[in-house]
Each structure stands twice: as C-alpha cells, then as structure tokens.
Symmetry: C2
Subunit: 342 residues, 2 copies
Amino acid sequence: MRVVCLAGGVGGAKLADGLQQILGPGELTVVVNTGDDLERHGLTICPDFDTVAYTLAGIADPLQGWGIAGETWNVMDQLSRLGSETWFRLGDRDLATHLYRTERLRGGERLTTVALTLIDALGVPSRVLPATDGPLRTWVRTPGGWIDFQDYFVRQHQEPEVLEVEFRGAAAAPVTPEVQSAIRAAEAIVVAPSNPVVSIGPILAVPGLAAEISAARARGVPAIGVSGIVGGKALRGPADRMMASLGEEPTALGVARRYRDAQLLDTFVLDQSDEGLVPAIRALGLETIVTGTVMVDAGSRASLAREMLAAAAWSGASRALKGHEIARQGRPESTVSDDLPE
Amino acid sequence: MRVVCLAGGVGGAKLADGLQQILGPGELTVVVNTGDDLERHGLTICPDFDTVAYTLAGIADPLQGWGIAGETWNVMDQLSRLGSETWFRLGDRDLATHLYRTERLRGGERLTTVALTLIDALGVPSRVLPATDGPLRTWVRTPGGWIDFQDYFVRQHQEPEVLEVEFRGAAAAPVTPEVQSAIRAAEAIVVAPSNPVVSIGPILAVPGLAAEISAARARGVPAIGVSGIVGGKALRGPADRMMASLGEEPTALGVARRYRDAQLLDTFVLDQSDEGLVPAIRALGLETIVTGTVMVDAGSRASLAREMLAAAAWSGASRALKGHEIARQGRPESTVSDDLPE
C-alpha cells in the first residue's frame, strides 16, 4: 500500500516509524514540514526532516525524540567558547548532516535531491521529502512583534503568545515534482499527530500541494489524520496554547475543524480520552476512529499506524463500493466509522 | 620590542610560541601563510593560521603539532558514514573555528577581521594576521599535472615530485592594512623555520608585502631568518625534496640563497650540524648565527627566539652605530656574526 504521510517533527516521526514498520520498503513517503528550517552558523538546518530521517534510520535519540542517539557536543562547546550564540544546540554527528546538506545546496542541488541522498546514505527504506525546495519559513507574531519560528520555539522556549502565523516565502516555494508524484501514486494519505498550525500548516501552504491532495481525494484516495492534542493538551510542544491564542478550540475538535476547513481528511482519529468529542467531530462531516493514540514505544507506533491504514483501506473500499468517487467534505453524517473495529 | 614573524604551520607556530614567551603582550605579530587555505565541506579552512593560533593559545595538540589537544572526530566519522570524502580530517573543536570563520566571511567580513576576533576569543596575547585577505592559493605541478596544495600535501601525502609552484590569485590578494602597519611598526623581522617554498614563498608573493619588508630593512630594521632544513633534511614536511626537485640545493644553504635572492634577510640562523655551510652562506652576503635550532620543547622554542632577537637587536644596533642605514644585501663579508655570543 503506497502511503503518503504529512509530518512535522517528533510526533510525525513516531507515526512515520510505525508506518515504516508495517509497510514494505519504498511504500512510505513522508512529506515533511520545512517551515521550521533555519540557517545557523552558516549551515542550513531542517529540524523536522532530520528528526524524521534519524527516526526512520533507527539512530534517533530515544529520550528526547530528536537528534542522534549517543550524541556529543564538542563543536557547540567550542563555538560557545569562541563567543558564538549557541541557543540552537547542534550535536556533532547531527552537524555532519548540516555540513553535508549545506555544501550540496551551495553547489546548486535542490533540497529534495540532497534529502534523497541523505536518507539513502542513512539507509532509510522509505522516502522522506521536504514539502518544498523553496524558501518557505514560518514566522509568528507575538506581543513583542514578528519573530521567526526557531526564535519563538527554541530561543524563547515557546513562551510568547502567538497572535498570528505567516508562512513567508510560500509564494516562491511550489510543490516539488517528487511530492507531486508521491501524492499521485498514493493509495492513502495520512496526517501525523503533528502541530496542525506550524507543522501541517506550512505543508498545506505550499502552492499546489493541497490541490494535489484534493485531486487524490477526488479520485477516492482515503485521507486520515490523527490529533496531536489529547485531553486538551498537546502531546508535545505548544499546539494547544497556540490554537487557544489564535482563537481556536485547543482540543481534538479544534484540530479536526482545521483539517475539515482545509478539506484535508475524510477520517479523523482521536484518543479514547477524547471520545466525548466524537459527535461534534462527526458533525463536521468527518468519520471518526477512537483508539489509543499516544505512541510510547515501537509497538504502539506500529499499532496506531496499522489501525489508521486499516481504517483508510476500509474507507477507500467502502467509498468505492458505494460509488462515492468525490470528496466527502460537508457530509453531515458518518456511517463508516461506526462499523470499524475498535 | 615589536616583532613581526613570517610563518607557515607547525615550525612557524613553534618559533612564534618562543617569541610570545619572551615578548610582552601585543609585541608579537605573526604574519601567516594563506596559500594552504582551502574549502572543505563548504567551510573555509586556514591550516597555517589555525596551527599558529592554537599554539599561541596553548591548546594545540602537543604530539602532532596541529589541531587541538584532546580532539574528537565525531563529525568526520559521521560525514564519512554519509559518504563524504574525508581525507582532510577536521576535529570537532577545530570545526568550530571553521564554522565561526566561514559564517563571518559569508557575512562579508574580511579574513583579517575574523582572524583578530578568533585570536581574541582564544585569548591569544599576540596578533596573528593572514598575509592577505585575497584568494591566493598555492598550486604545484607534479608529473601528473597541476594540483592544489592540499591535494598534494594531504591527499597525496607529499609523494608526487614538485616540478613547479604557482601562487594563484596572488594578483588579487594585496597586503592588508594590518600587515602593513605591523611591518611599519616592527623593530625586528623574523622568518620562522617554515618551508621556504610553500610557506614563506606565498607570503612574499602577496603584492606589496615584500616591498614593506624592503622599506623596513632600508630604515635599518633587522631581519633574521632560520633554516627549517637541518643536516639536509627538512625538520618536518617536504621542503628538502621540494627544493631538490625544483633544482635548488636542499640544505640550509639553499634556504639562505632563496632568502638572499628575495632580499629578505640580513642575518641567517643555522643549526650547529650545518656549521660547515657558514662560509658559503656568508659569501651570499648574509650574516650567520650558528646555534641549536631544533625546537623540542617550550624551553628550546624560547631560547631560539631569544637568540634570534638578541642577534637582531645586535645587528640593528650595530648598523645604527656604523651608520649603515641601508640594506646590506650584496655585502660579501659579515663582521657582525663573528662577534655574537654563541
């Protein structure tokens, strides 16, 4: 089953890992957020790409979820001695990735080409694609003014209130041929439990990308997403506070509403602890799956992935049977989700 | 005593260290070869500058003479795993220097400005200046064709015969205001026991630099150099073989002849084991000092430096006394060296 998974960093990497566990080699393509990308110490750093790539390569730090296991920090420590700002910490092995990438980008290669070389070198059996090769960058407006994403996320520890979000450079950051081909070949689209505003948001802001997903859905390709907000709390990061300060409901319902508004999904997965939100989410026109969504180990990653793909297959098959060949957006009731095994 | 020392890598760093030990803070300016500089992994690397800076900062690896003591190699090992060519090995802490430098160069700073910031950050009490901010690079012609210096020096382990040397880019690499000021303020000029062809050679190829030295010598500033070839063998590196294949005598006499031809020195220091060469070197019009020149520890670095500065002071004073205000080039006999304490 050829699957395209839209993903941000750690949460996205976990689900991608689950998907990779149960899919055959080459069946999974992860399309990752590039809005977090940044330049530090003259290097181009792609935090979400790297987190997904390291996770799928089996070398991610198991405790913090990002970076490389057994990492050392000798370059950073010395940079700090030299007086460099080192609030964005880069491990020694991780730096090899950034050096490798930056040298090739300066040589004129596309970010996607470099990404494919990197995952190949890391022995990753799936494809990990940046959502765009262009200069799309996430900026947030805080009470103190507009700041770039990593200033907000790392330097200011996600403390400022986010009043507005912009994906700067998006106009010059079109969908790549590789992402286009992957979506056109996909038999299911999966949206990871990443931050809907600043992880999935930038992917959808890539000109032409959302249209590819719409076209796939119109062809009957199932699209299923899972909430990264459980019990009103983001599993990781500031998604809940961010949605609240943007005037959205900081719950799985708020996430579902976002994805419904973006016409992204037909099926939405939420945690057992959020079962009470099912009627409201169905009222948005989304089918629902209620299951355990918190991925605490390799097994729970695989089992969430399996459940999502089963639901996607069911939903796709069901639609084909019923002759529903167009997107189900706006349909007030779901019949499919009732029949799914829980 | 304000001293300018022309230096290459390890040998230059040792004498610079000796000079720094006996001079007051700020009295020593080391002008380093930039012909060895290179771009690797997208970074600008200045091997001779770094060796001198680390040595004067007291952090150089005491065994190999270059790099940083207690270095680790985690970035390189990972780059190697990613499939990068890693024949030019860069330690983790050393990489911090290159990242720091490269980021600033890309930001538009001059190599000299970055160098001064670096030595300040490293706590070096002397100035270490690149001979030029321009793109001067050493190339050598071998039986296999022209190759850049580090290809010859590191990748091919100095094995190919050197048939010709070029300092490419020299025309666009003028002397800097900082080097100019240092030479104009110098009370002595010292040439370190570095490779006369590819360490001192590139410094003298910097347009305007040799003229500054000539002008200083014409003002009576003493200039003293020491042979890095002892007993017909280079203390380190390929200077002896290189001079032989270039048709020059691979001895202290050959070195002295080069410096005489460049009108660089009035006094030449050679090792006790080369005492037999004294008459021939004097015949070139150079004064001579015979002493132990092999620097095996901090003490021998300081004592060679002390001896050279004493000789320079003596030579300068003697010239002033005798009213010799012009360069002594071409003078067939030396009287000064006879009187110097050995």
